[in-house]
């Protein structure tokens, strides 16, 4: 649905994007993660045909963003990282205006407006002036605006930034709803835990370069050097460490809150073998669990060795 090929953008002497490539298949939610200034907004603006890349190409549903911006705009809903609201208009008028800009027939516009206000939970605010809405409500209205022409692809630039936790949860619920409707969503954020739960794919970008991209679990696996175990023992920590250290699959050992954390290479069978070795050596194991490598962890690893 979205294909980005060797996208490079150079501003003067600064390279904002350096040969960025990724693909997002239909129906996926792609989390675009990176610190501020990494190139997320630049990539999304190029995808929205609002900016020309210096080199490289990008396609939205087969349409070249540079050569066929009109076709791209038909298929795409874009929500920038700012509200972009007009004074003196009510929520319903605001949506009606954009629906008209997308050439929706007048007869259909009222239904579109009503449906979208309901989707984002603003039906009771339809006659409230847009500039008097709270930040969270404005953000929801902007999401509704991006949907007025029922696009197949949604580009959401930092949709959760500046929102309180409740508003974030509400935004996440709306996005899940949109996923169920079959939309392909690209969502940029630096708030990582949200993306782990919401996204099916992620791309990690830093200093204009793509550090990793793919399915969430694949990226985490790709970026974490091994799997980790948390082992609790009954008063025999020294002995346990002595048993574990010589094992070839163990990379590193550390003490965390009274337990031992062991980084190892292998699968579940390897973990079972480690447990067996410990118990065979007479160590009383009271706790044995695998630690999930989080997106945050993957992200930190991906960006820490940046030049």
């Amino acid at each position: 649905m979205i294909a980005v090929e060797q996208l490079t953008k150079i501003y003067g002497r600064r390279t904002a994007l350096d040969a960025v490539s990724f693909e997002v298949p239909r129906g996926e939610i792609f989390g675009f993660v990176g610190p501020n200034g990494a190139g997320k907004t630049t990539t999304l603006r190029i995808l929205a045909a609002l900016m020309e890349p210096t080199t490289g190409r990008a396609f939205v549903d087969g349409a070249d963003v540079t050569m066929q911006p009109d076709r791209v705009h038909e298929r795409l809903g874009y929500m920038p990282d700012f509200f972009g609201v007009y004074d003196q208009l009510t929520s319903a008028e605001y949506l009606d205006f954009y629906a008209a800009c997308y050439r929706q027939p007048k007869a259909r516009r009222k239904k579109i407006t009503d449906d979208l206000l309901e989707l984002v939970g603003l039906s009771d605010r339809r006659d409230q002036a847009v500039d008097t809405l709270s930040r969270g409500l404005k953000q929801r209205l902007c999401l509704a605006r991006a949907l007025v022409h029922d696009p197949a692809v949604l580009l959401l630039d930092e949709p959760a930034s500046g929102l309180d936790p409740r508003a974030r949860v509400e935004m996440r619920e709306i996005l899940k709803e949109l996923q169920k409707m079959g939309k392909t969503i690209v969502i940029s954020s630096h708030i990582l835990p949200e993306l782990t739960e919401l996204c099916t794919m992620i791309g990690i970008i830093d200093q204009g370069r793509m550090r990793a991209t793919g399915l969430v679990q694949d990226v985490i696996r790709q970026l974490t050097s091994g799997r980790r175990l948390r082992i609790s023992v009954l008063g025999q920590r020294e002995e346990a460490v002595a048993v574990l250290k010589p094992l070839p699959m163990i990379h590193a050992l550390s003490a965390q809150n009274g337990a031992i954390e062991a980084e190892y290479e292998g699968d579940d069978a390897t973990a079972a073998a480690i447990l067996q070795t410990l118990t065979a050596a007479g160590i009383k194991v009271s706790g044995f669990s695998q630690l999930e490598g989080g997106l945050e962890d993957a992200f930190m690893r991906a960006t820490e060795d940046a030049p």
């Binding site: 649905m1 979205i2 294909a3 693909e23 997002v24 298949p25 239909r26 603006r45 929205a48 045909a49 609002l50 900016m51 020309e52 190409r57 396609f59 549903d61 087969g62 349409a63 070249d64 540079t66 050569m67 066929q68 911006p69 009109d70 705009h73 038909e74 795409l76 874009y78 920038p80 700012f82 509200f83 972009g84 609201v85 007009y86 004074d87 003196q88 208009l89 008028e93 205006f97 954009y98 008209a100 800009c101 997308y102 050439r103 605006r145 022409h149």
Partner: protein, 347 residues
Amino acid sequence: MNPIAVALWNPIVAKEYRSRMRTWRSPVAMTVYILLLGGLGWAIFSSMTFTARNSFNAGQGANYGQGLFLYLILFQMVLLAFITPALTAGAISSERERQTIDLLFVTKLPSFSILWGKLLASMSFVLLLLLLSVPIFSLVFLFGGIELDQLAAAFLVTAVSALTLGIIGIACSTAFRRTLPATVSAYGAAFILLAGSLLFGLLFPTDIDPKATAAPAPPAVTYLSPILPLITIGTNGPVNNYGVRNGNNNIYPTGGGGMACSTTPAGVQSCYPIGPNGAFSKGIVARPMQASGTTIPSGLFTGWQYWQATVTMQLVLSLIALIVGAILLSPIRHLPWRMRAAAPVTT
């Protein structure tokens, strides 16, 4: 939808009307405009009544009518020169500052429609102001001296000048990212159009060719200013004492030589070659050259009315500014030399 309908079709106009008319600024602007124009009309009217009381002369009414009309129409032009750039110079730059321009770019509205919609919304407010001034101008008909066609021509010149200023304002708004420099440049352009072009006529007047068979006319650049045609319409006579080197202007009454021109009350201008001391030159056959009424006697627009030349030049200028504005506005410019083949990719 056909291409013309697509270009003209515009939800921006409706939105702009809605936003504009919901603020207190619009009624205040209209009130101030009418008060200023009406105030000037009333002041001139009072002064004329006073003069007429002291020295009544039947037949002076027409002169009073012309005088009142001339003052009003020139003042209206100056007022609009202040108002129009203010309406349009922020049209695009304020969208940029408010960060709403990207949201318009990603819709199906072509860049030209965005520009056109903004222009239409601003110019219809100017048109409203012009309509509001009609009752004030009807005062002129109490005195006579001005025909309806003169009024129509003067309003056309004023409207086209306001349109030109509006389009230049929009182009400035597109070229500059911030409203302040856009506004400053739009006012600069308005000054150049109204006063700068007239100044050009003073600094670089037309040199008289003694062998010419037609009366001299100011340089064509000066027709850009609406002031010149408004004066010719208001006075219903040719432009004298301006834009021609040592003609019948009285700056160098005894020097230079050249042409001497005189105008009959019927508006017929006759010019004769004169010597350095203002006497008829010996050896040069004096050929009377006539410039009748308000037509341009020579140059690029020979035989045109001044207002026709002004309207034509301003419309050309407007078209250029509109095209420049549309090219500058597009986020991705498809210039012919930058085209390359698009190869769709299936994902």
